[in-house]
Amino acid sequence: MTKTDLMTRSEQKSSLDWLAVVAFLAIAATYVRAVWFTPPELLQGYAQKIMYVHVPAAWVAFLSFALTALAGGFWLFLKDPRLDRFAESSAEVGVIFTTVVLITGPIWAKPIWGAWWVWDARLTLTLFLWFLFLGYLVLRGAVHEHETRARYSAIVGILGALLIPFIHLSVYLFRTMHPMPIVANPDGIDMPPVMIKTFFLALFSFTLLYAAFVRARYAIAAERDALDDAAAADR
């Protein structure tokens, strides 16, 4: 396959991405419901509404990293380039969602906790997760040979999955040794049903959005790999 073949192929494929459309509609529905049809919380007021962004983003962040590690683990045995492309896409989307978590968290924490940042166990864990996967992406960018890149990424992904419990334990120990004055408990267990419904709608629509992003990113990775292979064949 030559480069021109690839270009026409990618032009032909530019039809409507139905998954992305559905995901964006679901996100829109979530926020219409969250803003207009879900009452504000009694104690936190409107600040609580950020939960419909923050918590689903955190869910997607952890999901994407778990899937990245899993795909890496399977790659080591199956050596299927699709697994590596999926890991790459999932990690990149995960970094975006983790960034959303790390930005929305302080916005909520300032009025509720009285500080932008608190070294709470979960916050710290998320921050380190972010560092870990930024490192993962930097590593991917530094290796060009496909198989080597896949191999290295798989190892960092798996070791990262092993590392998370250790970071969690250490930040937990650290926090319990230095208790912080936490005004409000972020756990949303005692939510009225109307909020729970909105919350689960948000979880669902964010997961759809994750799938749509990964699918789009995967297509880019596949095109790039094909282009690399074609360039190598032309040489």
Partner: protein
């Protein structure tokens, strides 16, 4: 040396031969060790001038100084451990040697451990001297914690050094990759150091010590298994 030079040694024998080779190179050139040592001493001195002794006591500051210093100077040595193999493609010679790949990792890791412990052995007295620290009573506990932490740091650092050695900007990539992995090592180590220096017994820090030990066990095992996958067939 138990195995005669002509026969093929077992995994630990081979690891020892590789470690000895690395240490011999380092002992003869001393380039990385001296750089790491100078870096440690300079950072200890810089920390001193960034410090207001009337606001923070030396005992509270020293654990941070020690562990920041150990972490970065250790990275310097680990980066070098695979750097020496890239010259003249010495790594290929190591790979065709009839030894297990795990042995290469264990050998490199052990040499790095000696390197880090060597830096620690000079940096700790330097901090004690410059910051006027009463280390005496806590010395045994401190030495144990430093050794446990050094094992954790070197096993992860050696694995990533092996991976990044072949990439562009290896010297930047190694810290970016390795530092998140150092968190569950440095956090317990610095906390225990702080408590020991404050004159509290080691028994108070058992939870941290267990965490450190568990990290060492899991990651020495995991990195040894993962290392063969970093090499090309």
């Amino acid at each position: 040396m138990s195995a005669p030079a002509a026969s093929v040694p077992g995994i630990f024998g081979a690891a020892w031969v590789i470690a000895r080779k690395d240490l011999a190179i380092e002992f003869r050139t001393r380039s990385a060790f001296l750089s790491a040592l100078v870096l440690s001493l300079i950072s200890i001195v810089i920390f001193f001038f960034a410090w207001d002794p009337t606001a923070v006591g030396a005992v509270d500051l020293a654990p941070g100084v020690l562990w920041v210093t150990f972490t970065f100077s250790g990275l310097l040595g680990m980066h070098r451990s695979f750097g020496v193999e890239s010259h003249d493609r010495a790594m290929d010679a190591l790979l065709v040697a009839p030894v297990a790949r795990e042995a290469i990792f264990l050998g490199k890791g052990f040499a790095n451990l000696v390197f880090v412990v060597g830096v620690q052995a000079i940096a700790l007295p330097a901090v004690a001297l410059f910051y006027n620290l009463p280390v005496g009573g806590a010395f045994l506990g401190l030495a144990g914690v430093m050794l446990l932490a050094a094992i954790g740091l070197t096993c992860v650092g050696t694995l990533f050094a092996g991976m990044t050695a072949n990439t562009r900007m290896a010297e930047l990539l190694l810290p970016v990759l390795a530092l998140p992995f150092f968190v569950p090592v440095v956090m317990p180590a610095a906390t225990i150091t702080a408590r020991l220096l404050a004159g509290r017994p080691l028994e108070e820090s058992m939870a941290w010590l267990r965490l450190l030990l568990a990290f060492d066990l899991v990651f020495v095992w995991a990195c040894t298994l993962a290392f063969p996958f970093t090499l090309e067939d």
